[in-house]
């Protein structure tokens, strides 16, 4: 079920990523102020935007989980946060590289996006330890959802606060005084956002398909070989029972 459309999505992602790469390297004009370095922007900012959207979406999924009590939503929320954390790390690393290239330091405190990203990362990095410390899967799902909702609301608020506290001295490519992005840059930027979004969605789908398959095989083993032949599940941060086994409310 969950594997449906995976091939089409994989192809689309591949095309979009190649297109982004080609456009960035061969077509997008060099920035007047920053030159070639500015091209990291096409990678860093879309990854950042997708990460943020993903965190908020995970919060919405978590809300659905609490409303419906369905473990299916817990799985989605978990996987989205899991992958968003990885994107978050990519965003932090590319941001650090950009900072080093533009301003000579690996870390700059007056770049609000980067700083917010670190704070958001620190918060979401506690999601897995929190899940891991709760044994009962039902409670784990509920508590994780509460966390995801609170954290989802935290993301925009945190951005506001960090933005307010930062003096904007560095050149910002997006929406600065020198009048936004030129058309060509904007086009490449949008293509890149689409590509990163597709990549994110693809990985989420892979992950969900893999987890569901694992559960189904586990259930099959239990049915075929008996409950004793299957090692009991240890503590796990990931959701551990198949959604179809989940209680109906």
């Amino acid at each position: 079920m969950h594997g449906k459309g995976l091939r089409a999505l994989t192809l689309a992602t591949l095309v979009a990523l190649s297109a982004t790469f080609a456009l960035v390297v061969f077509w997008a004009p060099n920035d007047a102020d920053q030159g070639f370095i500015q091209k990291i922007f096409y990678l860093h900012v879309p990854v950042a935007i997708i990460t943020l959207i993903a965190y908020v979406v995970a919060g919405i999924f978590a809300w659905r989980q609490l409303k419906t009590g369905s473990r299916e939503w817990d799985l989605r929320s978990y996987v989205v946060i899991h992958i968003a954390l990885i994107f978050n790390i990519v965003g932090l690393l590319t941001g650090a590289i950009w900072a080093k290239a533009s301003w000579g330091h690996w870390w700059v405190w007056d770049e609000p996006t980067l700083v917010s990203f670190l704070i958001v990362f620190l918060l979401y990095a506690t999601y897995q330890p929190l899940r891991f410390s709760i044994e009962d899967p039902e409670r784990q799902a509920r508590y994780a959802s509460v966390f995801a909702i609170i954290a989802g609301a935290f993301v925009p608020l945190n951005f506001m606060a960090v933005r307010m506290a930062t003096s904007l001295v560095h050149p910002r490519t997006f929406g600065t005084a020198n009048g936004g992005l030129p058309g060509e840059m904007m086009f490449v930027f949008l293509v890149s956002i689409v590509a990163m979004g597709l990549l994110f969605w693809l990985i989420v789908k892979y992950e969900i398909a893999q987890k569901t398959l694992t559960w189904q095989i586990r259930a099959l083993r239990r049915r075929l070989l008996g409950d004793d032949a299957v090692a009991p599940l240890g503590r796990s941060a990931a959701p551990t029972i198949a959604p179809q086994e989940a209680p109906a409310r």
């Binding site: 390297v25 070639f36 990678l43 990885i86 790390i89 690393l93 075929l224």
Partner: protein
């Protein structure tokens, strides 16, 4: 056309410091995607192994069933034949 010629002709890739940084940023992305693919591959291998276990177990049971069916089969056939005769008479 030789693809390397395209790269060489590309005016946008300066082989200076800036080029290295941009390359590094993209390498970070691709490295992480590659690591993800590698992790996924090991997970798939485990799934394959588990599925193989289940398949073998099913095979064994089918064989067992077939064997026991071979032993019982004629007897059942005889019984039904006898029942049919009884009905007829």
């Amino acid at each position: 056309m030789n693809p390397l010629a395209v790269l060489a002709a590309a005016p946008a890739v300066p082989y200076d410091k800036a080029g290295r940084y941009v390359a590094a940023a993209f390498i970070v992305l691709f490295a992480i995607v590659l690591i993800y693919v590698a992790i996924m591959a090991t997970k798939l291998q485990r799934l394959e192994r588990d599925l193989g276990d289940i398949n073998r177990e099913l095979d064994r049971r089918q064989r067992e069933q077939a064997e026991s069916a071979d032993g019982v089969g004629p007897a059942v056939g005889a019984a039904t034949a006898a029942a049919a005769q009884e009905n007829a008479s």
